[in-house]
């Protein structure tokens, strides 16, 4: 049984290197006679605020919201990459996050070498990887190119391989960030098919996308984020309807 439990999660994102701004600020305060450099000059952005969420086996959730609404940040909190500033995160189950297809993809290494490395990064043994190598090779349809360094691949071929590797491991909790639309038309069909299988195999799926069609296709529930808050959470059709109404009005 997999489980995700977020209680009152707030995440403040420190922004470093915004020096021009703090310099200007301290100059201004110098002119106006205020105290200089009283703060540490670190700007914080509140990326998520007071998020409560409970998901259990069988839940498939689509994340919707504008750019910068906190979708990717939420996925990274679920992936245990970001620790919230306030609140609790409890996760049970093996997580696989496809936040970036190109993770661990090294341009100078060959296709085969990349398959091995990606497998290791996902915690597989060399034996497991050998077993999967063939499936990945077949799915990517790259044939002999797999023995060549990836830098010789076209953009589309690179994505094909990355997608084939990333989706060859079935997790309990699947976290996806806009990974559709890979390669040419036939491969796109195939990748959608693979995604459906992967979603079906996983216990919990959280999927962020701007495409309502894909969300409807893969998810039963939807979570609408706005400026780091949960605007709505419920059945996919209801939430999407509300989202669309607001979008059309605004």
């Amino acid at each position: 049984m997999s489980k995700i439990l977020l209680s009152q999660v707030t995440l403040d994102f420190p922004i470093y290197g915004a020096n021009t701004r703090s310099l200007k600020k301290s100059l201004v305060s110098l002119v106006t006679g205020g105290t200089i450099a009283q703060e540490n000059h670190i700007t914080f952005v509140r990326a998520l605020e007071n998020i409560c969420l409970e998901l259990s086996s069988g839940d498939t959730v689509g994340l919707i919201g504008h750019n910068g609404a906190g979708k990717s940040t939420l996925l990274r909190v679920l992936s245990k990459i970001y620790t919230p500033s306030i609140g609790k995160v409890k996760i049970k189950g093996r997580i696989s996050s496809l936040l970036d297809l190109n993770l661990g993809i090294d341009l100078e290494s060959t296709g085969y070498e990349n398959i091995v490395l990606s497998g290791l990064l996902r915690g597989l043994s060399r034996k497991d990887i050998e077993v999967r190598k063939k499936t990945i090779a077949e799915f990517s349809e790259l044939g002999d190119y797999l023995a060549m360094p990836i830098r010789t691949y076209s953009q589309g071929m690179q994505l094909r391989l990355a997608f084939s590797i990333a989706t060859s491991f079935s997790p309990e909790i699947l976290l996806l960030d806009e990974v559709m639309g890979v390669g040419d038309a036939p491969f796109m069909e195939k990748s959608k098919q693979r995604m459906s299988e992967l979603v079906a195999e996983s216990d919990i799926v959280v999927f962020s996308s701007h495409s309502n069609d894909l969300i409807r296709k893969f998810c039963k529930k939807a979570l609408w984020l706005e400026k780091g808050h949960v605007k709505a959470f419920g059945l996919v059709d209801e939430v999407l309807a509300a989202y669309d109404t607001l979008k059309n009005h605004g």
């Binding site: 209680s7 009152q8 994102f13 420190p14 470093y16 290197g17 990274r76 992936s79 245990k80 990459i81 970001y82 620790t83 500033s85 306030i86 609140g87 609790k88 997580i95 996050s97 936040l99 970036d100 190109n102 993770l103 661990g104 090294d106 100078e108 290494s109 070498e113 091995v116 490395l117 290791l120 990064l121 915690g123 043994s125 060399r126 360094p149």
Partner: protein, 273 residues
């Protein structure tokens, strides 16, 4: 109706310790990443990693002749001393300099997966250890020609020293990696300090050339003691008690500082890179 209990994020000892433990047990990951670094650096070159060997060889062989004349030291004494000193120095200094970038370099990994942070230091140590092994090649003929050989006990001391050194590199490496990702000025500062240290540490010259007063001062130089830890057994000597206790102390301090800082900052590293 529910009670809010904001978790204090200031000190998470368990998270830090489990990071270290998980890192050590993921040896498959850091070992392959370390090897990959070596393979990639020389992918399209003919000599491959032996470029490392060659450049070390040129440096040692040419400097040896010149400096033994300059310092009027017998070549049989000076050559082995210089050669072993240079390779241990290269090992130490590149770990220190590269450690500042250990997290920044791996930003893509850190932002996309939740691998333990200590993996990136272990990757760096692996890479530099492999380079050290390459660097041994040009030193071997010198040791053989001048009949300098570590005794059986010396070999044990060397293995012990290497283990001790690697744990010092591990603890201080993690420390520097954290500081280096938060404060980007660290790397240039460290790099220039290391350069100065090369000159004030007995590598090209010998400790015994100094006045007793300066010798006592130099004993406090951590680089001197770290080099002695590895160099002495290679030269058929046994590291002094001073060296051993200094290095053990260094390791203890390094681990204490590293664990405290990791417990305090681990959850923020992802924001820093």
């Amino acid at each position: 109706m529910s009670t809010t209990t904001p978790i204090p994020r200031s000190f998470q000892l368990n998270a830090a310790l489990s990071d270290l433990q998980q890192g050590l047990t993921s040896q498959r990951i850091w070992w392959s990443l370390g090897w990959q670094d070596i393979r990639l650096r020389y992918r399209r070159s003919q000599l491959g990693p032996f470029w490392i060997t060659l450049s070390t060889a040129i440096m040692i062989y040419s400097m040896g002749i010149l400096y033994s004349k300059l310092f009027k030291i017998d070549l049989a004494t000076y050559y082995p001393y210089l050669a072993t000193g240079i390779i241990t120095w290269t090992f130490i200094s590149s770990i220190i300099i590269e450690a500042n970038d250990a997290f920044v370099e791996n930003a893509a990994f850190i932002r996309q997966t939740c691998l333990p942070f200590s993996i990136y230091i272990l990757r760096l140590l692996t890479r530099n250890f492999i380079i050290l092994l390459h660097n041994f090649l040009p030193v071997l003929p010198i040791l053989i020609y001048f009949k300098v050989a570590p005794s059986a006990v010396g070999i044990l001391y060397f293995i012990f020293g290497l283990g001790l050194f690697l744990s010092i590199g591990y603890s201080f490496g993690l420390l520097l990696a954290m500081l280096g990702s938060r404060f980007r000025d660290m790397k240039p500062i460290v790099a220039s300090l290391v350069q100065v240290c090369f000159l004030i540490t007995p590598i090209l010259w010998q400790h015994s050339m100094l006045s007793p007063r300066l010798q006592a001062w130099t004993n406090w130089n951590p680089f001197y003691q770290l080099i002695q830890l590895l160099r002495a057994p290679l030269l058929g000597q046994i590291p002094s008690t001073l060296t051993l206790s200094y290095c053990l102390g260094l390791a203890a301090i390094g681990f204490a500082l590293m664990i405290v800082l990791l417990a305090r900052c681990r959850h923020r590293i992802a924001f820093w890179v």
